[in-house]
Symmetry: C2
Subunit: 319 residues, 2 copies
């Protein structure tokens, strides 16, 4: 079975770990979000790709969900002592190595997709991880800050400001000119099923879909496209998805997110059992819907969610 998954960071990575456990023999291609990539200290940092790679490769800090296990922060401490920031972005000593290797390879002319493949040679995530694009896309968030309207990098909004001010707009700068990375459209075309994990529908899955050609390829793939709601009981399971959903005019409910993706894209949608009363509304929008437990408390729970998604895919296929 060939599965394509559009993944953001923590939610996507944890779902993928469950998916691998659920179908260990599946051929999984992950299209990773790069809209929250950021240049820090002269280095190219790809938080979502790394979270997927570290999580599936056994190097993730389990507790926080991002960054490396057994991590130290001496380099960052020293940068701060030099007065060099930003201090709000947590780069550990071990994590820095990934960004140094990546930056060196990019500098040597390799595209991000080739670099990601090389990094994965070490981590052996058990999936094929492809960035959505080799081109630069940078998600900016329009906010009002100190009485001034300005656009800040997504990481500044998310990590520094902790989404404490309303997002007035979310713009994947550069997406319009970006091309899908080599292998992205091919993987979609050859997929037996396409999954949207409970990642952020705006700044993760939404950014991937903003790369011209990807949304169209998924819609035209002719295979079940199944999503899992990141919203449970009217609130994001983790993160602050509600803040950026508001910016695109979508209410923070499981059915609203399904409608936002739309029946032109989505064939099936899993909502949490807490949102069982929304099933009817989603199905009315032309999207097959089931209510199942969606809390990824551990890998087994994520695996059960993955199985439910694949079961729903079979239902869709059988119609």
């Amino acid at each position: 079975m060939r599965i394509v998954v559009l993944a953001g960071g923590i939610g996507g990575a944890r779902f993928l770990r469950g998916l691998k456990r659920a179908v260990p023999d599946a051929d999984i291609t992950v299209i990773g979000n790069t809209g929250d990539d950021i240049h820090l200290f002269g280095l190219k940092v790809c938080p979502d790709l790394d979270t997927v790679m570290y999580t599936l490769g056994g190097g993730i800090n389990e507790e926080q969900g991002w960054g490396r296990t057994d991590e130290t922060f001496h380099l960052k401490e020293e940068l701060a002592a030099y007065g060099v920031g930003p201090e709000w972005f947590g780069l550990g000593d071990r994590d820095f190595a990934t960004h140094i290797v990546r930056t060196q390879m990019l500098g040597a002319g390799f595209p991000l997709s080739a670099v990601t493949e090389a990094l994965c040679d070490r981590w052996e995530p058990g999936v094929r991880l492809i960035p959505m694009t080799d081109d630069r896309v940078e998600t900016h968030v329009a906010v009002e800050l100190d009485g001034e309207r300005k656009a800040v990098h997504f990481q500044e909004y998310w990590v520094r400001l902790r989404a404490s001010v309303p997002a007035e707009a979310v713009v994947p700068v550069g997406a319009e000119q970006a091309k899908p990375a080599p292998g992205v459209l091919e993987a979609i075309a050859e997929a037996d099923v396409i999954l949207f994990p409970p990642s952020n529908p705006v700044v993760s899955v939404g950014t991937i879909l903003a790369v011209p050609g990807i949304r169209e390829a998924i819609a035209e793939a002719g295979v079940p496209v199944i999503g899992l709601s990141p919203i449970v009981g009217g609130a994001p399971v983790r993160g602050m998805a509600d803040k950026v959903l508001a910016a695109v005019g979508v209410e923070s409910t499981a059915p609203a997110v399904a409608e936002h993706y739309g029946s032109g894209l989505l064939d099936g949608w899993l909502v949490d059992t807490a949102d069982a009363d929304c099933v009817e509304r989603v199905e009315a929008a032309g999207i097959r819907c089931r209510a199942v437990p969606l809390m990824m408390t551990d890998v087994d729970a994520a695996a059960r969610m993955a199985r439910e998604a694949l079961t729903l895919a079979e239902e869709v296929r059988a119609v």
Copy 2:
């Protein structure tokens, strides 16, 4: 009193610490060797400048004489896990910060001299530290390796090979085209005394003197130029200076090094008490010479050496 010191790494740095203790009110300008600078992992590393900066700024690993105190090596471990080397060069997590800040500033267009000044803003070494040049100079060593004659970077010769094969030639590549960094010639012209600490006469002091204009400025400064022998009893006090002295046809003895500098440059030369029998030979070469203890066992010993050097300078001046 305005003192100019031509410094390499460990020996120069430890002598400077003694000099500061000996004459705390002196205005000290250090012209630092950059010939052993190296690009590693996309970063500009300046081992000698950093050793001076860390030693005088209180951040040095006292035991090894280079690198940072309380250091960890997680980043390097991870680079090795990615298969990215060289593994033989010891860059610690804290140390990396210096190279990242330096590389970023150089990338932003600042010359190395301005970058060094900025780094020293943090370390407050109590001296003015200027790289010998803002231009790229790279000391290469010609060796026969695996039956093949080739040139290796000085660090590869020194750190990886541990000078285990004979150096057939030592070439400061780029030196001929290099210009002294801003402030170098001015400091020499305004100096009351110029000191050559017990640094390597070939790859440290020699490289500095290879930058066109510096040797001439020192010779014409009209002030005492005093050196301290890095060779005691026929062997280098530390390091492997004998290996590179052989490459330039100089025997590893205290008087031979003095003669190598020559009376056109050097006015006074301190040898260790173990080499007291060489005083006559040095003086016969037109260089005033004294035998005093030259083992820098601690800061006090280094301070005594500095005082002896300044005393010899006064003797020279009085002639």
